[in-house]
């Protein structure tokens, strides 16, 4: 069990890294894109707005944590 947990932790750490908020926000932004596209609304603009914002917030979180 501890081995499985450790592997799970390593995978989590490898993919998500030290900023899980960023990972959740990326999933939410793609979710919004999917919902808008499904409703027939133009949705390509969501990620170009979200990505710079997420990068900026991620940098700010690191600086605040210092």
């Amino acid at each position: 069990m501890s081995v499985i947990r450790r592997i799970g932790f390593e995978i989590w750490d490898f993919v998500v890294g030290d900023d899980w908020i960023n990972a959740v926000a990326v999933v939410a932004a793609f979710g919004l894109t999917a919902v808008l596209a499904g409703a027939g609304v133009t949705a390509w603009w969501v990620m170009p707005v979200a990505v710079p914002l997420l990068l900026w917030l991620s940098v700010r979180r690191v600086l605040r944590a210092r």
Binding site: V16, F30, L36, A37, W44, V46, L55, V59, V62, L63
Partner: protein
């Protein structure tokens, strides 16, 4: 070769070269300090594990429907890319120490010397360190090759780009017998962060069901836009730092002068 294929090959080459430089530093440090045979055994064992991962994950990825694949891969690349880009922006703006292969090499060698000598001809320390280093850096290479390659149905091009990058780094490293400190690693990481984020954004959006204006040509706008935004962020952070340093410099003499003024 189309523009997207060149972008794929370039991104994979840069990412794999950076990872290979980091793995090489670890292997060189333990190899030159302790035991080459044990370190190379570690490299071999890690390579076998990586091959198993490719054999297991590769076909599973390529068998997914293209929409699902693009959404999953786009999401993973973007999460990964923003992490790379954040570190690169912090390094370029001077808020995080630059990655220094020479310092890393010295640190690894000191740790290798400090660790007790192993009994017998097999050195467990060298094996474990080389194994872990190659496996962890190699997993990132595998991840990038599979995601980029599977998404564009060009795993072959991605694998060739990765192979050329790793071979070039290994040949240069073995010829020099020192870490490749002159490789512009921080700049390369910045470029890789831009590419991962841009391709992640592009594929994820398409996987979510939206269409880019201009289709693939949108990448010609997305990549420069992400790069420009990141460079702008570096400039902004540097300015903030300079302003903070100036205000500290101004307030420090004022604090020294104040008691004098009170006395007068």
């Amino acid at each position: 070769m189309s523009g997207a294929e060149i972008g794929l090959a370039l991104s994979v080459f840069l990412a794999c070269a950076v990872e290979a430089v980091e793995a090489l530093t670890i292997v060189l440090a333990v190899g030159t300090t302790r035991s080459w045979s044990s370190a190379l055994s570690g490299v071999g064992a890690a390579t076998i594990v990586l091959c198993v991962v490719v054999a297991a994950v590769g076909p599973a990825l390529t068998s997914l429907p293209i929409g699902v694949l693009r959404l999953i891969v786009g999401g993973l690349l973007l999460i990964f890319g923003i992490q790379w880009l954040r570190k690169a922006v912090l390094r370029a703006s001077g808020l995080k120490a630059l990655h220094d292969e020479a310092a890393e090499f010295d640190e690894q060698r000191a740790a290798a010397r400090a660790a007790g000598a192993g009994g017998g001809s097999f050195d467990g320390y060298s094996f474990t360190l080389a194994f872990k280093g190659v496996l962890l850096e190699g997993l990132e290479v595998v991840f990038i090759v599979l995601t980029f390659g599977a998404n564009q149905h060009h795993v072959g091009i991605a694998a060739i780009a990765a192979g050329v990058a790793v071979a070039a780094v290994v040949v240069l490293g073995l010829a020099a017998r020192t870490p490749l400190a002159r490789v512009p690693e921080n700049t390369m990481k910045f470029a890789v962060g831009v590419m991962l984020s841009s391709f992640g954004m592009f594929w994820g959006t398409e996987g979510a069901g939206a269409s880019w204006p201009g289709s693939d040509a949108a990448l010609l706008v997305i990549v420069p836009a992400v790069a420009l935004f990141s460079i702008g962020l570096v400039w902004l952070l540097r300015r903030e730092q300079e302003t903070a340093e100036m205000s500290t410099a101004v307030s420090a003499p004022a604090a020294l002068v104040e008691p004098e003024e009170v006395r007068v």
